[in-house]
């Protein structure tokens, strides 16, 4: 290497090159978003959908029954669904990427901390037993609040136990898994004792879907996405350092135990918000980071936005496909069906021995 200036320029170039790929994926998201606007059981074409939106923004009310239905579908259903899909995919993928790096285990994802079974427990005791922690609120809200509060219990236990003893990354996840089993046990017992209809309802919620989303939930979902993105992006360098080993991190000035707890809290909060509204959409949190790693590398500066956009695109695309075929299928099904083979192909073609 003759010239250090050259090397510096070269490094900067390499750092920024993958940004263009992220741009491409973002473009794809926008494209699919627009295409998905008219998709539904009724035949609406794209221009009609755009016109309806334009009218809505201009404050023009739909005049006849025909327009009203289309208005409801496009503005009240499809747009919130699409935004919800993007938020869910983004949050879960960022959570997965961060946890995998901090726990140093490719099997980590936001659900392995027990968040989903906690939320399910809150949902189940609300649906099946009619109990809610904070009474006197309207039923739908109380269910969600229940789910949210219970979703945070596993994280709370991990944080609590960490104050007594230095908790290694694997221990952290195993604690989360143990708490998950306890909640699962309760869930199973309660489900076992309820009627088939409730079981069906619960099952639908478990599998995860964005179809029930309305405009009311959108601000919270967007908040979750923005919060986790900013928080994790803020500590991106620290995450990279801890990913290389705890001892090395300590001697570079980063307290790995504290960082893991902080990351855990943010990931849990954001995931809990998402899970309360969409149920458990699996697969994205685990797989999107791995795909992102393949194309963007393991450094958080690119991994976090990269995972977010890939995850968002995956969920959005799956929801679009569902809307084209049959609107009532849970999004998790299509996600797994469509994206599993793609993921396997990517894994197999990964020539370098990444890890």
């Amino acid at each position: 290497m003759v010239n250090i200036n050259e090397s510096i320029a070269d490094y900067r170039r390499r750092e920024n090159a993958p940004k263009s790929y992220i741009g491409v994926v973002l473009l794809a998201i926008v494209l699919v978003f627009i295409l998905s606007l008219p998709a539904s059981e009724i035949d609406i074409n794209l221009f009609e959908a755009l016109r309806i939106i334009y009218d809505h923004i201009m404050g023009v009310e739909p005049s006849n029954y025909h327009d009203m239905i289309r208005h409801r579908i496009v503005v009240e259903q499809n747009i919130p669904r699409a935004i919800g899909a993007i938020c869910a995919g983004g949050v879960l993928s960022i959570g997965g990427a961060v946890l995998q790096n901090l726990i140093r285990n490719p099997l980590a994802d936001p659900y392995t901390l027990g968040i989903s079974s906690g939320a399910l427990f809150g949902m189940v005791i609300s649906l099946a037993l009619g109990i809610s922690i904070i009474p006197f609120i309207d039923q739908m809200d109380s269910r969600i609040l229940n789910a949210f509060l219970f979703a945070l219990i596993p994280t709370g236990i991990i944080v609590f136990l960490s104050s007594f003893k230095k908790v290694s990354p694997t221990m952290m996840i195993l604690i989360g898994i143990a708490v998950m089993y306890i909640f699962n046990a309760f869930n199973t017992i309660i489900k076992y004792t309820t009627d088939d209809e409730t079981i069906s309802q619960i099952y639908q919620w478990t599998v995860g879907s964005v179809s029930g989303l309305s405009w009311g939930s959108i601000p919270k979902l967007v908040f979750a996405l923005v919060m986790i993105y900013i928080a994790m992006y803020w500590i991106r360098n620290e995450i990279d350092i801890v990913a290389q080993g705890d001892h090395g991190a300590m001697t570079l000035g980063v307290n790995p135990y504290r960082l893991r707890i902080i990351a855990l809290v943010f990931v849990s909060l954001a995931t809990a918000i998402i899970v309360c509204y969409t149920g458990t959409i699996g697969f994205v949190g685990l797989v999107a980071p791995h795909i992102a790693r393949r194309y963007f590398g393991s450094k958080c500066r690119l991994l976090i936005p990269g995972s977010a956009v890939i995850g968002a695109l995956m969920v959005l695309l799956s929801d679009y496909i569902i809307r084209l075929i049959t609107p009532n299928l849970p999004v998790g099904v299509v996600l797994a069906l469509v994206c599993s083979p793609i993921f396997i192909v990517i894994l197999v073609r990964m020539k370098r021995n990444e890890w």
């Binding site: 490719p106 017992i189 791995h290 099904v333």
Partner: protein, 356 residues
């Protein structure tokens, strides 16, 4: 080395070994006590003495008169309770051993017997069978469908393994992807059926040991015991493989072949358990960790200890489940979680060793 030092070191080494053996013997003793207790638990009231008289009579070849009280006792104890107890023991052995082995082979503490997709394959088999109403071997009560479909994800992994660069993490991820895929297939079927079928499939999935007869038990016993013995024979090599693939290879171990062999053996063991017991989690993932916290990671002791502990634990959980509700309203998997998870957290917090 002088004699006294040698004696001292030998004594220390022996005490370590003694501790490990002691743990195994303790588990086996506990299991035997549980068998004795569990035989008495059940919906149908049979007194303590009568239960044992029935067993002795059967062993001595005394055949009770049809439809007499003794005959009913015999049916309950021999064809209902005893098979269930033995099934719980065999499942405990199979799941715990598979879990410990999977964690060693995959070098990942989060791996479990279902990581390769066995459970979702079985579930899909059952879902097809129930949702479409077809069955290959009706007499086996969906066991065949579950078993065959359970092995498909593993077969896919084994077939793909030459292309995988010897990376275990890739195998884990493919297994997980396959799990999601088959779960998606199942879900697709389930959301399109009525809620009754859904409930029935769900009840299968939740896991129970009551769906067993002596002939099915025999097959399961053969597979589980043979599998455990094979893995125990390989355990020495598995120990060496934890040093790293390159180091192991230079010591003459064909790492890839052993991995595939282990995957196959585990898959068959777990598939036949899952076909009739449904999907019982926890034992495969957390029990091996509990055992490691108590006796360390040496595979040669880990496998027998896993068998003993797994059997004792699952039998205990099933007995509790039976005791709490004779109608199978309390699923055994739930009891496993409720008892095992706090126990695990307790052991974790009080442990000085830092294994991972």
């Amino acid at each position: 080395m002088d004699d006294s030092k040698f004696e001292q070191m030998k004594a220390e080494y022996n005490s370590h070994i003694f501790r490990k053996f002691g743990f195994i013997i303790l588990c086996i003793a506990f299991m035997i006590v549980m068998i004795a207790i569990s035989v008495n638990i059940g919906g149908y009231q049979i007194s303590f003495m009568e239960v044992y008289r029935t067993i002795f009579d059967h062993i001595l070849g005394v055949v009770p008169e049809e439809y007499s009280k003794e005959w009913y006792d015999y049916q309950i104890v021999w064809n209902n309770r005893l098979p269930r107890i033995l099934f719980a023991i065999l499942s405990g052995i199979g799941l715990a051993v598979s879990g410990a082995t999977m964690q060693s082979v995959m070098k990942n503490p989060l791996a479990e017997p279902y990581t390769t997709g066995v459970s979702s394959g079985a579930c899909f088999g059952v879902a097809i069978s129930m949702a479409l109403g077809v069955s290959l071997f009706p007499s086996l009560n969906m066991g065949a469908e579950a078993f065959i479909m359970a092995l498909i994800p593993v077969a896919i992994i084994i077939i793909m393994s030459p292309k995988l660069n010897n990376s275990v993490a890739t195998v884990i991820l493919i297994g997980t992807a396959l799990t999601y895929m088959f779960n998606a297939f199942s879900t697709f079927l389930l959301v399109t059926t009525d809620s009754e079928t859904l409930a029935a499939i769900y009840k299968w999935q939740v896991g129970s040991f009551s769906n067993i007869t002596w002939d099915r038990l025999a097959i399961i016993a053969i597979f589980v015991i043979a599998g455990t013995i094979i893995i125990e024979i390989l355990s020495h090599k598995l120990n060496i493989m934890t040093l790293g693939d390159n180091a192991a290879q230079s010591l003459g171990i064909n790492v890839r072949r052993i991995r595939i062999l282990c995957l196959l053996v585990m898959a068959i063991m777990v598939a036949c358990i899952v076909s009739y017991a449904g999907i019982i989690g926890f034992v495969g993932l957390i029990c091996p960790h509990m055992i490691r916290l108590i006796i360390g990671s040496d595979n040669r002791f880990l496998i027998p200890a896993a068998s003993a502990f797994g059997a004792a634990f699952l039998l205990f959980s099933d007995s509790c489940a039976k005791w709490l509700s004779s109608l199978d309203m309390v699923p055994v998997g739930a009891i496993c979680g409720l008892i095992g998870a706090p126990l695990f957290l307790f052991i974790l917090m009080h442990n000085r060793r830092n294994i991972w």
